[in-house]
Symmetry: C5
Subunit: 354 residues, 5 copies
């Protein structure tokens, strides 16, 4: 589990502001898409040659550039210098182990946050970094890998659904954030289902597997919390409208997002509490079963050990053991054994072990 914290930004001796991608290297070329729209028209194209950037922005429409994959650092450096993004900001975007954060500049805002993924084989959580930079007519989104998360937004722009085509860049950013946060809910729901399954297992037949699953889920929630908690502060700073890029009429949308984040954080806390309770219950039920086992052992041993002593006594080979020669010796002993066994059982009954 802990490997997700292991990768670090760069060699400690490297220069601040050096662009370096810190994630896993997959040899997929960086892919850049542009959607340029206003209320009247829409233009959609893939940007291939890095010379196109100058023509992208125009005053009367919003340009959304989506960048998937950080393999070609040169392109990203070019975009950065073209739109005058501070080198430290670019470094943070590429350093995929950033804590979610917001940076406000005079003419643009940079938001870094995490997408939650379940790894297919291990069912473990992993995080993918998404960065959004936006100015008044430009939104640039950076994703570590190609993913389908933003497709519904693109479709909504194409179909001119809702008010997205009529609004400014801050509404587009809201839409991107909203879809990421909705995705958190879906992930939480899946974790919730695993907790429910665990609860049934815990009551019916707890095993070591149950225990490991509780442990893994607990660690998952630790990661989740780390990825989501800072979002509160991020949205809060947007809400306080510290930047003129956020307009008054989108405030209610950001407040809505804020409420959702609080709800997610609340739910994470609840699940963590429940998992802690489950661990306690697990320990208790292990103790209980041990108790059960000990009782059976004790009952069997306590009844038969004295009986076996008596039979063993009369198995001794002393010449002079008068009882052995009595005619009723054997039946008398049988009766004695029976009496001992029965009184033992009565004793256990009284002790409430039976």
């Amino acid at each position: 589990m802990s490997h997700i914290f292991k990768r670090r930004k760069k060699k400690s001796s490297s220069l601040p502001g050096t662009l370096e991608y810190t994630g896993e290297r997959i040899e997929v070329p960086t892919k850049i898409n542009l959607i340029k729209y206003n209320e009247q028209k829409i233009l959609e194209e893939e940007i291939k040659s890095p010379e196109d950037y100058s023509t992208i922005i125009d005053e009367k429409s919003i340009s959304w550039i989506n960048i998937d994959g950080f393999q070609q650092l040169g392109i990203i450096a070019k975009i950065g210098s073209f739109y005058k993004i501070h080198p430290l900001v670019l470094e943070d975007i590429l350093n995929v182990n950033q804590r979610p954060k917001i940076e406000l500049f005079d003419n643009y805002i940079c938001i870094i946050l995490k997408l939650i993924e379940f790894e297919k084989n291990t069912n473990e959580l992993s995080t993918e970094q998404i960065s959004i930079i936006f100015g008044s007519n430009l939104v640039i989104s950076f994703k570590e890998k190609e993913s389908e998360i933003f497709i519904p937004i693109a479709e909504r722009i194409q179909a001119a659904m809702g008010q997205i085509r009529k609004m400014k860049s801050d509404y587009l950013v809201y839409s991107l954030l909203d879809i990421i946060i909705d995705d958190y809910f879906e992930k939480l729901e899946k974790l919730g289902e695993r907790i429910e399954i665990l609860e049934v297992e815990l009551i019916e037949k707890p095993t070591t597997k149950t225990l490991n699953e509780i442990y893994n889920l607990k660690n998952n929630f630790i990661t989740l919390r780390k990825s989501i908690w800072p979002l509160r502060e991020i949205i809060n700073r947007l809400l306080r409208r510290e930047s003129p890029l956020i307009h008054e009429h989108t405030e209610i949308y950001y407040r809505d997002i804020y409420d959702h984040i609080i709800q997610i954080v609340d739910t994470i806390e609840i699940y963590r509490d429940m998992l802690s309770n489950m661990l306690d219950i697990y320990l208790s039920s292990v103790s209980n079963r041990m108790n059960e086992i000990m009782k059976v052992l004790t009952i069997i041993a306590t009844i038969f050990i004295p009986l076996t002593f008596i039979t063993s006594l009369y198995g001794m080979n002393f010449i002079n053991m008068p009882e052995l020669n009595w005619d009723l010796g054997y039946p008398m002993i049988l009766i004695l054994l029976l009496i001992i066994a029965i009184s033992m059982l009565i004793y256990f009954k009284k002790k409430k072990w039976l």
Copy 2:
């Protein structure tokens, strides 16, 4: 237990502001009641056709519209657009997994909170969402299902009991909140009774059932806390009179509600502490009983195992075992066994195991 967090607002790709009911679908038609009153007169009717709304509000009386059930979204959308309620607010009202919250607008306030219910079969807590929107002469209450919670208020208005007929809409809202919070106390009391029964069980005869009940109650209090904690902030914002809709002479009533919420939250914390203590005690008493069992086993085994060894020794068939031929061999051995048994018992006495 965890299923109550599972349902989520909408498909993550749906548009913000889309009206969608996220609770369980029961095919009961939405029911709309109107009570319109002032100090002199009162009018009560069920609203059937959705064209009636224009005549509802008049300047000189207070109109309380109560809506039960969210099955007919069209009616609710119509009400929303008629009274100019923001689409995101309507979406929140219908999305029954909202965290309790308050939204203040220029001419109306929206409060969303939870009603606590015990599910009849499983005794588990479930929550039902209640939303209240109010302006200066209008109060609209939305309930997921038809319930009897507001009936005493309606009766009080009809009978002109207390000062309700003389007061503004904020007093009506106070009355609605007050009756919901009083209901929390009743639910808390029932949970308190279950805790008391558990305490007796815990001391007299703790079983695995006791353990599961502790676990369930702990989870119940987690839910309860989640539903009630945000109310503090809600009432606090009303108390601060951030909106002109709250008048000075109702402040003392809202302060009273505030005190009750603090008391509920306190009591929840106390119960949670007590349940944690009970879990510790449970574990301790399980350990204690195990101890008890082990002691019995050890005493029996420790006394009889050496004795049986001796009898078994003289059960060997060696030809040349002189003791076997002694006349007093058998009684001497009996005395030896007795001495061993008695010294064992003295040893246990000294160890305080008997």
Copy 3:
């Protein structure tokens, strides 16, 4: 224990401001005493007929009305209306399950707090509600039951001890609060003594009784904390002199009370920590004793089970067992058994079990 939280203010459908006593009903008539004093003279009388109230207050002296018992609601309602106390305040005074609180009005202050009592038979904590209402020349104290807590104050006024006769109503209120808080110290001291006894028990001979006592004490401290914690805020508000009823020269007295409350809350926290530690120690010592028991069992069993196997081996009735016919067979076996037993003992010595 939990029954102290169970009683609730009123039926949830009853009107706000309805006077209703929520404590246990004991058929003792409400008793009303008046002490009216200034530096020169003092008047003390029991008020029987409820018509006397008009003559009680005069500008030049302080009137202290003490009311014991809430059985005659009529009298209390009359007092309330006579001194123009808000109905919600009266309701809070009678609702003996209030959280300690302060309410500041223009011309009077209402303080509600708790007296701690040990129930005689069960040694459990219970709380009794005390309310104090005071204006510039009037102090009214309400007690659930008759108790001796305020007698020293009355005596001090009679004897003109200290400066009480020279001071305003806020000093009388300080005296009442001070004596209640001193009483908390005494109760804490008694609980401290029980903890000390428990500590000795824990080290010398912990039993299930010890465990239950720890559990009860923990719950007691939960109650205590709930009753005392809000006092901090209450005194703090008085200290901030939000009301003109608190004069500058009594500030140092209220600060003194404030320090005492902080000290009480500190001590409660310390005791709670100590009790948690004791529970851990209890669990550890139970585990330790189990260990001890297991060791004895294991030593006995491990020595004798192999020995018994050997004797049992030579107890077999095979015709052809050459050892049985050897002359030295028996002594050789005895030596063998001895060697096994001794090497076992050496093994245990090495394992540090002996």
Copy 4:
């Protein structure tokens, strides 16, 4: 341990402002020393008759009066009234169970804090109260018992070491506080050494003594924290220079003290965490040893119980048991027993119990 919280200020019915010493009574007379100094000259004497006070203060030098022992309340009351100290402050100085606190008055400041002592026989912590009152040319220090803590300061003044003779009373107070806080470090260091010894014991051979020592140390840190935590606030208030008695050039010294207190509080928290960890480790290692013991028992029992059954089988006295008469019966049985024992051992090997 808990007895240190037990003593309380006074009988709850006694008058506020009554001087009463609440510590242990030792019949040692109160001892009063005066050091009066300025940059040029120094005067040192023991004050015997209580009439001398008027001549003590003069404008051009600083007078430090040190009072050891509270047995002669008359003298202390006289000093109090002479320097116009508020009776409640004097009461607090004598009531040695005060929480550390600061009181700022117009012309003097009172600081109450604790000296930490180890009781010689039991090694338990006890606290001794030290109070410091200072005005512009006067510093009065009150100690419960005579102790050597302030001697280095006196020597430094005599020898005119450092800048103490050139500075105001606030620097003297700083020196007194600094030496007390340095003493806390020494006490912490001793507790640290005991923790280190415990750590070794815990790994090498944990016993019940180890457990009791952990418990005692935990309680010690609870006391320590209670005595030191409030100092933060005390020094902070001095740092904020709420009183003109603290001059700007001593601010850096008080900030230094503040840093030390933070460091002490930090270290206490670290030790508490370590002790909690040690308790967990203790419990784990007890469980581990139990496991170890159980394994030995189980291996022995599981091997020999079946073997003994077989030998016991052929010890039966049935007439018709053909195996008994076979020539190779005995060796065959011996081989069978060997096979069973070996396969058992292989099973345990596979289970990793050996």
Copy 5:
């Protein structure tokens, strides 16, 4: 582990402001290096004779003096007095048990922080103190021991890499802090790897060694947290630009450092949570294995003890035991034993022990 807190600043009776080195004494001479640079030129030399200091600073370049080792206090005192550093600051620099802190003066700032080291043999964390004093053209760094941590910065200045040669002293300080914080990440990564190894061990084969390692790591994180937590406040104060020495254009760099510290503190918290979880899992798996062992023992004992009783019964030597003389006695008994064993096995199957 605890020895790192043990060393303390000085004898409690020594004068404030006395220079005294509190670390381990190693007889290595103090080594002083100077790098003096501006955009055009660079000068690098080792300072031997302590008379050189006057020529070091000039208005047009930045002088970085690095001091390794505190053995020659005279030199350090001379530097201190030369640059007018307050004696208490020098004392703090030499007292290597300081909590990380910042002190702002009119013309210089002093930052004290910790370098984390793993001790080579024991793998335990130790801390080394680094202090940085800087004014407008001067930066002095003090290190307890010679270490290579700052070498990359020196190389960067020599090679004029990045913007370091163009920037003011605050950028140099940023570079020093940044390289220290990057070093924390590397240390954290190593601890993270140890946690990962522990996780595998925990699931595969937990031993007492695992437990001790968990305990040691937990203590390591306690130390780490203590060393890093105060850095938040330090950088925050620099960010707030309370001093004119921090220029606006370096603010973004300090904000970057701030983010990294938050991330480190977050990660430490996550690791601590994970270690706590691991301890729970360890305890659970120990219980589980005990359970496993108990089951085997109980199954074996419960099957064979009754069987052995029966065989022992027919090993008695009574004359009159008719069964012994039956022809089918022996086979019948064998069948009986088989039936008992099989029914036991069925019982265990039902109990889910097999």
